[in-house]
């Protein structure tokens, strides 16, 4: 674990980078360290010792020797630790990602801007209602799948259908809550969540 050299403010959000390729972990840390308090873990076992409420956002690589990223994520959700999590992996999302409970899924290679935007967005979520967080997780899963599979592949998969049904259910619940929110980022988020359907997006995925 490496504490970021510049973490001037105690209120600065903390980001945990879990990545077995040390150079890559250090690169991510370099990209983020001016904005957040950054910690790094080079394997799954090490990551577990740092995963508590003091962490706001965790970046997790899925494939690591020993304890895998999937297992680390499972641990966080099982223990109900309130951390926003994004996967950063070379592995493309398959149907096994359903139910993993990540908030975003980035496929390597990524650049600094993409990483910073993602962390920023996830930090916004942590302020919101649990229902919206769940909705975001579900939509992130759906989006990750849609980026890698054609429309027809998705339609054939019953788990994908279940995922869509669940999104509808949560969305109806959120409808009531969101009426009271007039915060601009939330509206934008909600706008994304409600319009992000497979028919209207990811046309590229269908033609692959």
């Amino acid at each position: 674990m490496t504490d970021a050299p510049t973490s001037p403010d105690a209120d600065t959000p903390t980001v945990l980078i879990i990545e077995d390729e040390q150079d890559l972990a250090d690169l991510y840390a370099a990209w983020l360290q001016n904005l957040y308090t950054v910690r790094t873990a080079y394997n799954g076992e090490e990551a577990l010792t740092h995963l508590d409420e003091s962490i706001d956002v965790a970046l997790i690589d899925r494939r690591m020797p020993g304890l895998s990223g999937d297992e680390v994520l499972g641990h966080v959700r099982e223990e109900e630790i309130n951390i926003r999590i994004t996967i950063v992996s070379a592995v493309t999302p398959d149907f096994d990602v359903i139910g993993m409970g990540f908030d975003d899924y980035l496929v390597k290679p990524i650049d600094a801007d993409e990483l910073r935007m993602t962390v920023e967005r996830l930090l916004q979520f942590s302020k919101y209602d649990e229902q919206i967080q769940e909705l975001e997780q579900l939509v992130a899963t759906k989006t990750a799948l849609e980026s890698e599979h054609s429309h027809s592949e998705l339609q054939e998969h019953h788990k994908y259908q279940q995922l869509r049904d669940r999104i509808e259910t949560v969305r109806v619940k959120v409808d009531d809550t969101v009426a009271n929110l007039d915060d601009e980022p939330v509206e934008r988020l909600f706008h994304n969540l409600t319009t992000n359907s497979p028919e209207s997006t990811r046309q590229g995925g269908e033609t692959r």
Partner: protein, 621 residues
């Protein structure tokens, strides 16, 4: 009767006609004999009666004499005799059925008429004697007349009788000729009928029977000579010809199917209802390495690799015995002990009477394809993962290089980028090497001693600090696996990751003669290193593929597959003091699992040595 018209008729009518003809002959025979006998009897009776007339004449003469002497009592006898003579003479002339006397034949009739001519005056005089008083003149005159004409009547009667007898004898002779003639006809007609039957019925049937027998004995080229008649024989000939055509066509169909099965690229075997193998095609022999002789009579479980659960076979059996078709990917074992991936379908086959006749199984050897797929998948995953990670880094470093804070930082990042590029090149080389190795497979045959010596020699050159100890058996042992690759990967791994100043590696090959079949060979590779990390153990013990950045895991993964496919086993244990022992047990190819194929195994052995050379050369390049 014209033969041609007879031929057109059916045999039933012909045989019926023959029988009728014979019946007619019998009737004629019996009739003529009966007639002959009747004639003889009647004529005999007539002659007898005529003979008796003579006696009557003599009696009447003496009775008339007695009456003349005054014996009036003789009158009654005379009257009765005269009446009888008169009746008999009429009967002899005109016939009398009740007395069995035929009318006199024309030749004899004249004689009897002359008897009557004598008799008529004679009879008048008898009546006078009977009616007139003895004293009358007429009486005496009549008495004299009778005495005087008695002899004449007698003579006339005698002449008539003898004439009759002569006529009768002539007639008998004629009748005998007739009978002989009729028998002669019999003797002529019956052989003719037989000859006819023989020629038109028996001979054609015998000929067809002989031809049918030839065909039945398997000579499909033999022909049935067509018989162009409209009768039953013609029908039979036509039907036999049609049957033969059908038979030939069915045999050709069967032959075509047999050829198809024999030349099919997939292994095909047929079992009885109890699962015993009854037929295997050449592709089966090629894929499973079992000869047809060895496989036939066995249960398909000879192919059981032990990789499927017991319930797999129960489920299979349940499916096919209830009429279903079983389709499944399966891992089977060859006679040589190697494993192979097969896609197989097993279906019940039914006989003509819709009873179950057994099962047919079609099996394709997908080993190369499956290995290739798995290898591609793994290579693709490893390549993708590593490429993306490296590119992520290079991208990040390049971004930094855009605005370097100072020259030192810039140089540092340039070095980092260079390192990453080097790493990518090495990854590419590593992937190439494994792709090439698998292209050679999966039919490896290598001799252990020479192969291991070569591999270790090459490694000794590369790692001069390392200490090697090689114990190989003096006898030649061949295995069906790329041992060169497996050994190189494991030994290299043992040296690379060794933290001692002098890495030590011991390779020991033991031929295991104990044997639960199949006979095996054990290769032990021991080192004095720190031990294999748990994640790499997973690779080697279970074939699990983990994201390893440097390709060493790839080598272990490929070793695992190589050993498993060869029907072997690979285990890792920690040595007591320090270090790791990897044990590989492989089936020996030089001794087959089935004892009778020692010759085939021997040939394979020779080929193995040649191939070993090739592979070693490639490896050393």
């Amino acid at each position: 009767m014209p033969l041609s018209s007879l031929r057109e008729r059916s045999i039933r009518w012909r045989v019926g006609g023959h029988l009728l003809l014979i019946l007619l002959l019998i009737v004629v025979n019996l009739g003529s004999i009966g007639w002959f006998l009747t004639e003889q009897k009647h004529d005999g009776a007539a002659i007898n009666e005529a003979g008796k007339q003579r006696l009557l004449v003599e009696q009447m003469a003496s009775e008339a004499h007695l009456v003349g002497m005054g014996n009036m009592g003789a009158r009654a006898d005379l009257a009765a005799d005269a009446a009888q003579f008169n009746r008999t003479l009429t009967a002899l002339l005109d016939g009398n059925q009740s007395r069995g006397i035929p009318p006199a034949p024309p030749a004899v009739r004249d004689q009897f008429l002359s008897v009557r001519a004598e008799w008529e005056p004679f009879y008048i005089h008898i009546r006078i004697i009977l009616e007139e008083p003895r004293t009358s003149t007429e009486f005496n005159e009549s008495l004299q007349y009778i005495a005087a004409h008695n002899d004449q009547l007698l003579a006339a009667s005698d002449t008539a009788v003898s004439h009759y007898e002569r006529t009768f004898e002539k007639k008998v002779t004629q009748l005998q000729f007739l009978l002989v003639g009729i028998f002669g006809l019999d003797l002529l007609v019956i052989p003719l009928l037989f000859a006819f039957t023989d020629r038109h019925i028996l001979q054609p049937i015998e000929q067809m029977a002989a031809e049918a027998r030839t065909i039945a004995s398997g000579d499909m080229d033999a022909s049935i000579t067509p018989i162009e008649t409209t009768d039953e024989v013609g029908d039979l000939s036509k039907s036999l010809n049609e049957m033969k055509t059908q038979l030939v066509s069915a045999a050709q169909d069967a032959q075509r199917f047999e050829q198809a099965v024999e030349h099919a690229g997939h292994a095909i075997y047929i079992t009885g209802t109890d699962g015993t193998i009854e037929y295997v095609n050449p592709a089966f022999e090629e894929i499973t390495k079992y000869d047809a002789d060895e496989a036939v009579g066995e249960n398909p479980r000879i192919l059981n690799s032990g990789q499927q659960s017991e319930s797999y076979y129960d489920e299979l059996w349940d499916t096919i015995t209830s009429g279903g078709v079983w389709r499944e990917e399966v891992i089977n074992k060859r006679a040589t002990g190697e494993l192979f991936h097969a896609y197989q379908t097993i279906a019940p086959i039914t006989g003509v009477d819709s009873d179950r006749a057994g099962f047919v199984a079609i099996m394709s050897d997908n080993t190369e394809q499956i290995i290739s797929n798995q290898q591609n998948q793994v290579l693709r995953r490893v390549l993708r993962h590593n490429l993306r990670t490296e590119l992520n880094l290079i991208g990040g470093y390049v971004q930094k290089l855009r605005n370097p804070s100072d020259d030192e930082t810039r140089d540092a990042y340039v070095t980092k980028v260079e390192n990453r590029i080097e790493s990518l090149v090495s990854l590419s080389t590593s992937v190439d090497r494994f792709a090439r190795t698998f292209k050679q497979g999966p039919h490896w045959q290598q001799e252990l001693g020479a192969t291991i010596d070569n591999v270790c020699d090459a490694l000794e050159d590369r790692y001069s600090a390392a200490k090697f100890e090689i114990n190989t058996p003096s006898s030649e042992v061949t295995v069906l696996a790329n041992v060169a690759l497996v050994c190189e990967e494991i030994v290299e791994n043992a040296i690379e990751h060794n933290d001692r100043a002098t890495p030590e590696v011991t390779v020991t090959v033991t031929v295991e003669d104990e044997p639960d079949p199949p006979p095996t060979v054990r290769i032990e590779i021991e080192d004095n290193g720190p031990g294999i990390p748990s994640e790499e153990r997973q690779v080697i013990e279970h074939g699990e593929e983990t994201p390893l950045l440097h390709g060493s895991g790839l080598g272990l993964w490929i070793s695992y597959w190589m050993v498993t496919l060869a029907g072997g086993d690979i285990t890792i244990e920690d040595r007591q003091q320090r270090g790791t022992r990897i044990s590989i047990v492989l089936p020996r190819a030089s001794v087959n699992t089935v004892p009778d194929v020692a010759v085939g195994g021997q040939n394979g052995h020779t080929a193995a040595n040649d191939q070993t050379e090739d592979i070693n050369n490639t490896t050393n390049d």
